[in-house]
């Protein structure tokens, strides 16, 4: 078989056969904080505090006894430097007994999903029965970093022994050394392709013929759906109001995702200039995901353990997968990962009632939709004879997506799984899907099934 991105059929057969003997993994329940604009009301929070708070609330609302938790797994792409293993810190701050270990996992944008699938892997391997998992990211707190020249300057200064050495080192100082490195910007740039994320979306927009207008329209729809969901109170099933550190007397807990623009319009979107490729680009800040802070916690357990403890799960995990692809076209990750996950789960797109696909960029999502719908793509890239299926956009991101509510990197992977789990209740089909593209050239997908 020629080398290609995607899954080989022998591996597929093994996966299907062993799936039946694996332990069933369920999501007992989950809750998230609202997502707040970076630099806004959550700006003084830190991952340890906000993560522990949503963890405690989730444990309480799911009626979990902390003594039953086997491990704490937290997805976070950029943990605070003074809480490097933020998973351990969150566990202890949430009242989990100290004998229960905790770890932090990372897979860029899918770190929150990685925490869930790691728990599932451990359960299937028989290493444990109940896991507290989180996805958390404080985009506001990505640091400004000292440049290399300034770092070397301070190192030389502290190792200077004589007055002469010290004076000489001080004299070598140049103001240009002070220019900081903006960790957030650097973090969003892929080192292999050298492309910042927005540029990969531009590439897909050109290759898949997604126009500026298409992208803007999709962005508008995301805001409109998010606004409608808020007004209908749909997300009360997922969101716990949160009062952040730094709130002053008279201020109130945030109850809704606050980055949603209620008055978004095609006119105001059209006014924006392309951000990543001037002057002809199609990707603007208006049709890209917002930058927000937030945390999402979940209890993942074996179906047996949930039954023993008398818990009613929210969803069963049917299958999941990660797939690698060209970093320059990372936006197509969902297509690759979904293909694998559907195969492993023995399902097709027709079985999926609702899809949460992370809106990194409008152009990227639209490119994915076209790739899902393309026989050529399926044959050339996925090793399949026919397309995966046409996506019914009315079933995709029903309640809006990251363009409206933002993409706290480590949190999103868990957030979309939680929303997909809730969508099962309203769905007319057996399954729901959560999938996202991952900076660096990957895709992740989780397929969920009704619990009862």
């Amino acid at each position: 078989m020629a080398a290609r991105e995607g899954v080989g059929s022998s591996a597929l057969m093994t996966a299907i056969h062993s799936r039946d003997s694996r332990r069933q993994v369920v999501i007992v329940g989950g809750w998230r904080t609202p997502l707040a604009r970076a630099g806004g009301v959550f700006a003084r929070e830190d991952a340890g505090h906000i993560g522990a708070a949503i963890a405690r609330e989730t444990i309480a609302r799911c009626n979990i006894d902390v003594e039953d938790v086997d491990e704490v797994i937290v997805g976070c792409a950029g943990p605070p430097h003074d809480q490097a293993n933020v998973g351990r810190v969150i566990g202890l701050r949430a009242g989990i007994p100290e004998r229960v270990p905790g770890r932090t996992v990372a897979r860029n944008c899918a770190s929150g999903m990685e925490a869930i699938t790691e728990a599932a892997t451990c359960i299937e391997a028989g290493r444990g029965d109940m896991y507290l998992v989180l996805g958390v990211e404080m985009m506001s707190r990505f640091p400004l970093i000292m440049g290399d020249r300034l770092t070397r300057f301070f190192a030389k200064l502290s190792s200077a022994r004589s007055l002469g050495q010290r004076v000489a080192t001080l004299a070598s100082f140049r103001p240009s050394m002070m220019a900081p490195r903006i960790a957030l910007m650097e973090g969003l740039t892929d080192p292999i392709s050298g492309m910042i994320m927005g540029k990969t979306a531009e590439l897909l927009a050109r290759e898949w013929n997604v126009s500026r207008e298409d992208a803007d329209r999709f962005a508008l729809e995301s805001h409109a759906r998010a606004k409608a969901a808020r007004e209908a109170g749909i997300l009360k099933r997922e969101i716990v109001p949160f009062l952040p550190i730094g709130a002053r007397e008279g201020q109130h807990a945030l109850a809704h995702d606050d980055a949603v623009r209620d008055n978004q319009s095609m006119e105001s979107l059209a006014k924006l200039k392309p951000y990543f490729e001037k002057p002809d680009g199609r990707v603007t800040v208006g049709n890209s995901c917002g930058i927000t802070d937030g945390a999402c916690a979940m209890i993942v357990a074996s179906a047996d353990r949930a039954r023993e403890l008398g818990l009613t799960p929210l969803a069963k995990i049917r299958s999941w997968s990660y797939a690698g692809l060209d970093p320059a076209r990372m936006g197509l990750g969902p297509v690759f990962a979904t293909a694998k996950a559907l195969d492993e789960g023995g399902a097709t797109i027709a079985d999926v009632g609702s899809i949460e696909i992370n809106e990194a960029f409008a152009a990227q999502v639209l490119a994915c939709a076209k790739a899902f719908d393309s026989d050529t793509f399926a044959q050339e890239k996925l090793g399949r004879s026919a397309k995966l299926g046409t996506l019914d956009m009315s079933r995709v991101n029903r309640n809006g997506g990251a363009i409206a509510i933002g993409h706290p990197v480590g949190c999103t992977g868990a957030r979309i799984v939680l929303t997909a789990a809730h969508e099962l209740q309203a769905s007319d089909r057996e399954l729901t899907l959560a999938t996202l593209c991952i900076g660096g050239g990957q895709g992740g997908a989780v397929l969920l099934e009704r619990a009862s």
Binding site: G48, H49, A52, A53, R56, E57, I59, A60, R61, N63, D65, V66, R93, A94, G95, V240, P241, L243, I245, A247, R248, E249, Q251, H252, A253, A255
Partner: protein
């Protein structure tokens, strides 16, 4: 050997030489270990002092000894100061004088060794609590080192018990750290943590418990150099300067008087002795200490303060279960209702380390609760009373929710929702469905019956009242209200919880007003009656403050709020009948929305600026009811007597009905629940000084006053119940010996 004949000695006193172990870890070094076998917590009682004397004889006779270490039996135990029980029992000045002299002389001998013997170094090596006499022993040594652990505290709390440090502390401390700092320590009675003690200069060094004895030996044998902080220039310019000293002393006196209104002589005498300590001879200063303690210890104020201290200590026993073990403190607590009381209870619970879940249907109330709690933690962090990780812990311990979910693993819930029976019952029923059957359902109600709330709740034995006082963080009393079905185990667990919050619990029956509010009812109402009868409101409040109450009754009504006070008064009236008939004065004020402090206007006008004292409103004459009978001109003492006797008559009834276990609990509740003059020892202790006969006569006289006789319930309020009548007949005391 000192002669301890005739001095108070415990019954199980061991034979001579046993209480102080003499160890010789190396040549030239002697280590004295305070280890009296008859005390779990060592105390400087006669046997220990006698054996310390014998040990010092050994040290003095052996010229080869150049190092002395005094230490406790382990790093969590030193000695708890002088024998308070013994002092409380003393009534004879001469005996007190001997006890004081013994301690002074012993410690002076330790001090003298450093001056008379070349290179002699003494070290107090302390782990555990070292209050009072124990601290004075440390001050007499060349150096004092403390274990840096949670169990260790040091200070001079004698003035809290109505005496002052009489074993050289009032002399040595100002010489060591200067007058201002010494007064701060002595007048506050504070027990310093190791770091605070080091910062204040009370001790010379800290160390880890495992290193205590080794480092003490190194210092005593001068292998480790250690500098005692010298006062330097301050010694000349401040300590020896009569003007500076006079200034500091007078400022301190002003502060003491404003707090104590002249009722407590001990702090004032301590200021005088400390002020002269730097410029008088040691013997003169010691003599002054001795004479002061002789006067104070035999006086009633000290006896009363010691009694109250002992009462509050014995309240700790309430957490003991029937199997002799202490009830566990709950680690998961719930609070329902984020009003003023609820959020303060939740914040206290979170501060003390319990995972606390606060519920309210109004999200804004939850926001306020969180903001207040965080601000409180933040301010303690800023004042360095907390480290960052401890502050994070306190923040993490409080969660809020606006839906009644997530209480399944909560061990104890305190409800502080609206004062409506149907609401409370509904919320307890809902919780009972979620929570385990042995989880405690406690109510903070002040006007409803615990039994009524408990009816139809499964496992009613776990329903109990846990009545806090406002403001929760400052008021030390908690009433644990037993319903008829409440189990003793639940009471013990509630006591453990209350004690963990730093409160003092008192167990009461489930009657209207429980204890404190039932007594406050007539106290406050009678004050209103006096106001209605034309007595100047300023005089009413002043008279009661002079009597020793922390604030006047009208000021207290402002604090409580007239709506709440009115509601409470109506409950008492409904339950107890005519004698609790409320005055109509508050109705007029409430009608104008003038509810007291919360509305910024009541009897007083309250400024937004907390530093500005409330001023009596100028238009109060408008609220004197038109048809009230004028009261004759009463003296200040008569005003106080009327109001306090109204309360006392009710206290006698409450005691007769066994609302609390005994007169002791009643006194404890009055002191801790309403601030009843501690120097008087509590309401019934005061009554005993007057005598039941005089009280009955005074009550009858008041009942005959025209305004009392004319009003509904007047004579009933001042009637003597059966108990009181019997005490009068037998000339007996409330506090039977």
């Amino acid at each position: 050997m000192i002669d301890i004949a005739g001095l108070p000695t415990p019954k199980d006193a061991p034979p001579a030489g046993v209480c102080v172990r003499i160890e010789r870890p190396e040549k030239g070094l002697i280590r004295l270990v305070l280890d009296p076998p008859h005390r779990t917590l060592p105390v400087f009682d006669m046997p220990l002092l006698r054996d310390l004397d014998l040990a010092l004889d050994v040290v003095e006779k052996d010229a080869g000894i150049t190092g002395l270490v005094v230490t406790g039996r382990d790093t969590k135990t030193f000695a708890a100061g002088a024998d308070i029980d013994a002092i409380a029992a003393l009534t004879d000045r001469a005996t007190v004088g001997r006890v004081v002299a013994i301690g002074q002389n012993l410690f002076e001998r330790i001090d003298a060794l450093s001056t008379t013997r070349a290179n002699f170094t003494s070290v107090a090596a302390i782990g555990g609590a070292a209050p009072g006499g124990a601290c004075e022993l440390a001050l007499a040594c060349s150096f004092a080192i403390l274990c840096d652990n949670d169990a260790t505290r040091i200070g001079l709390p004698e003035t809290m018990l109505g005496i002052l440090p009489g074993w050289g502390g009032t002399t040595r401390l100002p010489r060591r750290i200067g007058l201002a700092k010494a007064l701060e320590a002595i007048l506050s009675g504070k027990l310093y943590t190791p770091r605070e003690a080091l910062r204040a200069g009370l001790v010379d060094r800290l160390c880890a418990p495992e290193d205590l004895l080794r480092i003490a030996s190194d210092i005593a044998m001068r292998r480790t150099r250690i500098e005692r902080r010298s006062r330097g220039a301050a010694k000349f310019f401040v300590d020896m300067n009569p003007l500076a000293v006079a200034f500091i002393a007078s400022a301190a006196k002003k502060q003491v008087l404003s707090r104590t209104h002249g009722h407590y002589p001990a702090p004032l005498m301590a200021i005088d002795i400390a002020a002269r300590a730097n410029r008088s001879s040691t013997s003169a200063s010691f003599k002054a200490e001795r004479e002061a303690v002789q006067e104070l210890a035999t006086g009633p104020i000290s006896k009363n303060l010691i009694r109250i201290f002992e009462l509050s200590e014995s309240a700790k026993k309430l957490k003991m279960l029937t199997n002799g073990r202490n009830a566990a403190v709950p680690t998961r607590v719930g609070v329902l209702g984020a009003g003023v009381m609820g959020r303060a209870i939740a914040s206290s619970s979170a501060d003390r380390g319990a995972w606390t879940r606060l519920f309210d249907i109004v999200p804004a109330a939850l926001d306020t609760a969180l903001i207040e709690h965080r601000a409180d933690v933040e301010s303690r962090l800023k004042k360095r009373k907390l480290q960052k990780n401890a502050a994070d812990r306190a923040l993490d311990r409080l969660d809020v929710t606006d839906s009644l979910v997530g209480f399944a693993n909560v061990e104890l819930v305190v409800e502080a929702v609206a004062e409506r029976l149907d609401v409370k019952r509904k919320v307890f029923q809902e919780l009972a469905r979620q929570m385990k059957s042995d989880a405690i359902l406690a109510t903070n109600t002040s006007s409803l019956s615990v039994d009524a709330i408990a009816s139809d709740i499964p496992h009613p034995e776990r329903v109990v009242g846990l009545h806090f006082f406002n403001p929760v963080k400052r008021m030390p009393l908690v009433e644990i209200v037993r319903g008829t079905r409440t189990s003793p185990e639940v009471v013990a667990r509630c006591a453990a919880f209350a004690l963990a919050l730093g409160k003092t619990p008192v167990v009461t029956k489930d009657c209207a007003g429980f204890l404190v509010n039932r007594l406050l009812g007539p106290y406050l109402d009678e004050s209103l009656r006096l106001f209605a009868g034309g007595i100047d409101p300023a005089r009413i409040d002043r008279s009661l403050r002079n009597f020793g109450m922390p604030m006047g009754p009208l000021a207290l009504l402002d604090e409580v709020g007239f709506d709440i006070a009115g509601h409470a008064a109506r409950s008492l009236h409904e339950a107890y009948g005519a004698r609790m008939t409320p005055s109509t004065v508050l109705d007029g004020l409430v009608a104008e929305q003038r509810l007291g402090k919360k509305a910024k206007r009541g009897f007083y006008e309250h400024s937004d600026d907390r530093k500005v004292k409330p001023i009596l409103a100028g238009d109060l004459h408008r609220f004197v009811p038109a048809n009230s009978v004028r009261i004759r001109d009463l003296s200040d003492a008569e005003i106080a007597q009327r109001v306090v006797l109204a309360m006392l008559a009710e206290a006698a009834r409450a005691l007769e009905e066994h609302v609390v276990a005994s007169a002791r609990e009643l006194d404890l509740a009055t002191v801790f629940g309403m601030g009843f003059a501690p120097f008087r020892g509590g309401l019934l202790a005061w009554a005993d000084t007057i005598g039941a006969r005089a009280i009955v006569q005074n009550l009858e006289a008041i009942a005959r006053e025209p305004d009392v006789a004319a009003r509904i319930g007047g004579p009933e309020r001042f009637a003597s119940c059966t108990l009181l009548a019997r005490l009068a007949r037998d000339d007996a005391k409330f506090h039977a010996t």
